[in-house]
């Protein structure tokens, strides 16, 4: 199981700051999240795997932690 931690509007859409899913890689993860929460298709966010932001698809191992980070602009 992959632990998914959400922030900002992403957490609002998903309905929780922490959920668990099975996923083989980050593409698979995005796909599954969008299937469950189609509103995510409209939103911009980056992924951090085990606290490292990724710029490309990454394979996932059991117990990996993926954070979904949207941009904030308020001030």
């Amino acid at each position: 199981m992959i632990k998914i931690i959400s922030f900002g509007q992403i957490a609002e859409i998903i309905g929780s700051t922490e959920i668990r899913l099975e996923a083989s890689d980050t593409d698979d993860l995005r796909q599954k999240l969008c299937e469950k929460h189609p509103q995510l298709l409209e939103k911009k966010y980056v992924l951090a795997v085990n606290k490292n932001i990724i710029s490309d698809t990454v394979l996932l191992s059991p117990n990996d932690e993926v954070a979904l980070l949207p941009p904030f602009s308020g001030g």
Binding site: I5, F7, G8, Q9, T17, T26, D27, R30, Q31, L33, C34, E35, L41, E42, K43, K44, V46, A48, K51, N52, I53, I54, S55, D56, T57, A67, L69, P70, P71, F72, S73, G74, G75
Partner: protein, 366 residues
Amino acid sequence: MNYSERYSRHILLKDFGEEGQLKLSKAKVLVIGAGGLGCPILQYLVASGIGNIGIADHDVASLSNLQRQILFSVSDIGKSKAIQAKEKLLAMNPDIKIEIFNKKITNLNSLKIIENYDIIVDATDNFKARYTINDACVLLEKPLVFGAIFQYEGQVAVFNVEDEKGKKTNYRHLFPNPPTNSDAPNCNEIGVLGVLPGIIGILQATEVIKLISGIGKPLCNQLLIYNLLSSESYKVTIPSHDLPKNLIPENIFDFEQRDYGQMVGEFPEMININVDRFKQLLLDEEAIFIDVREFGELPEADFEHLKIPLPTLSNHFLEMTKPKIILFCQSGIRSKKAYEIVKNHFSDTKELYNLEGGILNLKNIL
């Protein structure tokens, strides 16, 4: 006024001392925005003895500001934030030199203002300003202390400063392109707990002090996210990969030509192509075709193409190597969404096309 008495608690502090205080007194810091983030930042930087402060804000104070913009009083309502902030700050510490810029920072005025400071602090509240300031700081090689908030959470980072390995990043390593304004509303629209910008602002002021004095480890190539509901912070590293050419303007002329307003708000102008144009592009060596349908959808595309389902598009930008990209799906609806996503990433660095009517429109030529 008595310098060593005023700053005695800094001077007594192990690893800070007189040397640290002297560094603060010689520093020049520009704070862009005198609102929720800017107020606590300014108060603490001035209290700490930063010798030269710049305050940029075009706005006037209003009643609803007072819930979190703690530099201001009831008597400041309707008055210029920059002017009133300067007055309050000088009353606290008259030895600080304060210069104010009672205007919006844009790509037409920012370079001249920013170049006179050592460190820039982004305390603004919108993406247009944030991307403008980021690009200006990259161009002028200025350290940028970033902070931003949303409801109960905040982000802090230090950009354009090398870490111990010599790597540095800027805001575009994190979010290469701005979302449209609907993606991230500001406090006027969704509300904010008054203490939040206080916390995040002080974290920003702390990073400024760390950078100047050399104590501790600044948030270089890192993003800190703080959640006040759980009292938890989450820190991630930002990769320092090469950015696409021209993502950030490479010179002053280019910077001043960019339309940062369009970048954030205007719906990207979509270029739809018909079957004839599509046929032409099939022969173009510089063109790459991307099928954004789910795997297994029929009819199969009978020409060279990449299969990247729409939900995963953002992870595959590195594969989009050619200058011309043609997106298609079954009937031309999903590819419009894909167009927006790809356009937001590459901006004007690539030619993007959407196949009108999708692959169903093409069945004649397959």
